[in-house]
Each structure stands twice: as structure tokens, then as C-alpha cells.
Amino acid sequence: MNAWRRALQGLPLIVAVLALWELVGLTGWVNPKVLPPPHAVAARWWEYLAPPQPYDPEAGSRLAWLLSGELVQDAAGSLYRVLAGFVLGAALAVPVGLLMGASSRVYGLCNPLLQILRPIPPIAYIPLSILWFGLGNPPAIFLIAIGAFFPVLMNTIAGVRSVDGIFLRAAQNLGAGRLTIFRRVILPASMPYVLTGMRVGIGTAFIVVIVAEMIAVNNGLGFRILEAREYFWSDKIIAGMLSIGLIGLAIDQGMSLINNHLLRWHRGLEH
């Protein structure tokens, strides 16, 4: 409820920006080919979202028809890549991060290599990924996995290192061995950091997917806005950008909900 009220607080500014934007178009100050007014963007957005064919019960279910619009197809493609790449990157980063955080020997071994690789932006892997994987989903998923890997890794290491020594002593005192301490103390105690890393990581993954689609794939939200540029469809570009923003927001909110549920024990989250 509170969240809604906070969102409503920002409504006046949004309305004002839309009004100003519409006004700019109405007065003819700017060429609508460069900056189409909001109502044109909205119309184009609807066209982008709506199913291309009228409903035909022969062809399939109503749901399939509802989801047959180009925007839905693009969003599904992008989300699939984000999810596949993120799961791949995080599934590598969490165990490596746990080991590096828990063992100074593993840390000493892996850290120099990772410090060399970490500053390379995921985008810089594009040529290599196309060389290795060709075009289509594989290079995109590879790039996204790299984008998600480092935030999750760094936060997991920090999480393990931040585990308060008193928990370890308490667990030892209660008779726990190394494996139990790792599983039942270090893992849950570092969870707030790991989840923060995942939230950042999925954000990065979402950035990388758009770039990857502009280069290696021929569907998805990133591909679509670049394609629209070739036809000078600035209304469709903006509609696509806003879709990207809204989906990104939804992902972040979803992650935040999952975090709050998993960390309901956590001190910082009094509700």
C-alpha cells in the first residue's frame, strides 16, 4: 500500500513531462519525425503490442493469440536470454565466490586472474563471442553470463568475508564441523550480499542483452529498436525503449520481493 502511495507521489511530474512533450509536438517546435508526441508513441506501442491477426479459434488458444504480438514475442526472447545468461553466470559465480571467500588459498590463486579479467567490459567480448559462437542466442547468452558473473562473484566473496566471527565461534561451540558451519552458517550469513550481487548482476544482464541483440540476434527488444531506426520509426524506437525500461523495473521489483522474502530474518528489513 505504502509503495503505491510513494509511486503516486511521482505522478504529477510524469504527467507534466508528458504534457510538455505533447505541447512541444503541437506547437511544431520540433519535427515529429525526430521526436514524435506521446499520443503517437502510445498508438505505435499499442500496434507493437497487439496481435497482428484477428482471433481465429482454429489457429490456437485465446492466450496464444493474445501473446502473438510482436512486443510480447520480443520481450519473451529478451527475457529468455537474460534468464539463461544470468543463471549460467550466477551458477558459476556463487560457488567460486564461496570458495574464494572461505579459503585464502583459493582466493590467492584466483584473485589475480579475476582482477585482470574484471575490468574488461562485457561488451568488449562481442567480437570474440561472435567468432566463437557465430550469431544467434549462444553468443548473446555468453555475453550476458559474463555481465552477470562479476557482480555476483564480488558480492559473494564480500559476503563470506563479512560473516561475523562470533557466529563461527558459536557454531563451533555447539559442536558443528567445518561442513556444517559452511552449509548452515556461512551460506545463510552471506546470503544478503549474494542476493545484492544477483540484483546488480541481473541489472547488468539486462543491459548486455540489449547490446547483444543489436549485434548478434534478429529478434528481441534490442534488435527491434535498432531495426526501427533503419525505417526512421522514432515512435517505435521510443515505444521499445519504454518497454525495456518497464521490463527492467519489473525485474528489479521482482528481485527485491524475492530478496525480502528470503531475508525476512534480516535486521535491516523491519516491516
Binding site: I166, F167, R169, A170, A171, Q172, N173, L174, G175, A176, G177, T180, R184, V185, P188, A189, M191, R264, W265, H266, R267, E270
Partner: protein, 263 residues
């Protein structure tokens, strides 16, 4: 055979200036079932000694025997209660209390029964499914005590367990602790800097000196329980101990001033 035997135990911490001698030649013999308080101003080595008995840190010299066996590391036979509670915040009250039992691979049903019993004993039953963050300090310390009692350790080590609690909560937990101690017959080594708390609880009070930490006075408290803090004997003892502790407190403060001027 004493429950805890501490023989010529010394420990120093290296610092940038000079090594701090936290403990020097401590000798203590604690028979089974005794309630002993370690009393002294902060910095006199009480926690260092308790941690050595718990097995968290080895002394540099000397040895510690528990029921005749040298201490080599932490063990559930020496249950520890920390001032900061050290409850696992990601576990509910019941899960915290069950932890030591699950580690021992006790069957599920038996764990459940034992946890229920302990929660009942510490008047925590209605908080079983709560997380520590939802509890007051006093309730958290009750959970920590229940968690340690689950181990059935013959020895209980407590490092200023009630130091962070308000006076009323502290008194009620002291009563509770004495009740459990007399019911369960454990050996208790209890660290405090509160003179009144030590007289209220202990069979025996060991006053420590400040740097190096040594035993300044080892005295028995023969007052009958429950003890009345308003009784003349109580206050007589309190005056006596206040003087001893004040001498060490003065040395502590002088030391801090010195450290300030030589920096």
C-alpha cells in the same frame, strides 16, 4: 578431580607499541558444581581467560584441563553464552535451540521434544517461530541459554551475558540462571564487571588485576540464597570488593592516560 583446572596460564597479545600481557600465571581450581564469577574492570583479561577455557584461543603458556583432559578446541561439553547473544539471525528461536542437537544427529522427534522442553523451561514457548530480530535483548539471551542447555554440557561459560540488559531484565535472568543452576547442577564460570551481580550469583568470586591479568583475590561467598542486596552482609562484601576493583580501575585509567600521552 576438579571440573576445571587452570595451571600457570599466560597469554600476551602483540601490539604496535609493546606486547600486552593479558594473563600472567593464572592458577585456578574449580570443583564440579561450583558457581564462579570472574570479576574485574574491563581490559583485565576476563574474556581472554574464558576464551581459553572455551578453546577459542590457546594460552601461550600453562595448561587447562577439563575433567582431567587438556582443552584443545571448542567443544559442546563447555557451552558458551556470549554477551552479544550470537544467535543465528536466519534461524527461528526453535531452530537456534535445535542446532546443537541436529549437529549431534539426534533423531527428529527427539530434537522436537527436547526443544519444546527447553523452550518451556525458559518460558519461550510462544516465541518458538519468531526470528531473533523480533525479540528483546532479555528474550534473546534466554534463547542463547536454551541453545546452550540443549547441549547438556556439564560446564557453562558466560561472558558478561547480562551486561547489555536493563536492570529489571537482568535481575529476572539472574534469578532464572540460579534456578537452572541449582536444578541442573552445572559448573558455571561467569564473567562480569558488576560487583553486585557477582555477589548475587556466585559461590566464589575471583577478582582479577589489570595488566598483567592475575588473580588478585579469590574469596568464597557463604551468604544463603536467595541473597538480599539490602542485607548488611551483602553490603559489607560489596564494600570490600569495591575497594579491590577500584584499585584496578585506577590502574586501568592511569594506563589509558599514559597511552594517550605517549602516542
Amino acid at each position: 578431580m576438579p571440573a576445571i583446572l587452570i595451571e600457570r596460564v599466560s597469554k600476551a597479545f602483540p601490539t604496535s607499541r609493546a606486547a600486552v600481557t593479558a594473563l600472567e600465571n593464572i592458577d585456578l581450581e574449580i570443583p564440579a558444581g561450583q558457581f564462579v564469577c570472574l570479576l574485574g574492570p574491563s581490559g583485565c583479561g576476563k574474556s581472554t581467560l574464558l576464551n581459553a577455557v572455551a578453546g577459542f584461543a590457546r594460552p601461550d603458556a600453562g595448561r587447562i584441563l577439563v575433567n582431567g583432559v587438556p582443552v584443545t578446541g571448542p567443544s559442546p561439553e563447555r557451552g558458551m553464552v556470549f554477551q552479544e547473544y550470537a544467535l543465528f539471525p536466519w534461524m527461528t528461536v526453535a531452530q537456534n535451540v535445535a542446532f546443537g542437537l541436529e549437529v549431534k544427529r539426534m533423531p527428529k522427534a527427539a530434537v522436537q521434544a527436547r526443544v519444546d522442553e527447553l523452550l518451556h523451561m525458559l518460558k519461550l514457548s510462544e516465541f518458538a517461530e519468531r526470528y531473533p530480530k523480533e525479540l528483546s535483548g532479555g528474550m534473546r539471551q534466554r534463547v542463547a541459554i536454551a541453545r546452550v542447555l540443549a547441549l547438556d554440557s556439564p560446564i557453562l561459560l558466560m561472558d558478561e551475558p547480562f551486561g547489555a540488559l536493563d536492570a529489571l531484565t537482568r535481575r529476572s535472568l539472574q534469578d532464572e540462571l540460579l534456578r537452572l543452576w541449582s536444578e541442573l547442577g552445572k559448573t558455571v564460570l561467569f564473567v562480569t564487571h558488576s560487583i553486585e551481580e557477582s555477589i548475587f550469583l556466585a559461590d566464589r568470586i575471583v577478582v582479577m588485576t589489570y595488566r598483567p591479568g592475575t588473580v588478585k583475590r579469590d574469596l568464597r561467598v557463604d551468604l544463603p540464597r536467595p541473597r538480599d542486596p539490602a542485607a548488611p552482609e551483602f553490603n559489607q562484601l560489596k564494600r570490600e570488593l569495591s575497594e579491590l576493583v577500584a584499585q584496578e580501575q585506577t590502574r586501568h585509567e592511569a594506563d589509558e592516560r599514559l597511552a594517550l600521552t605517549t602516542d
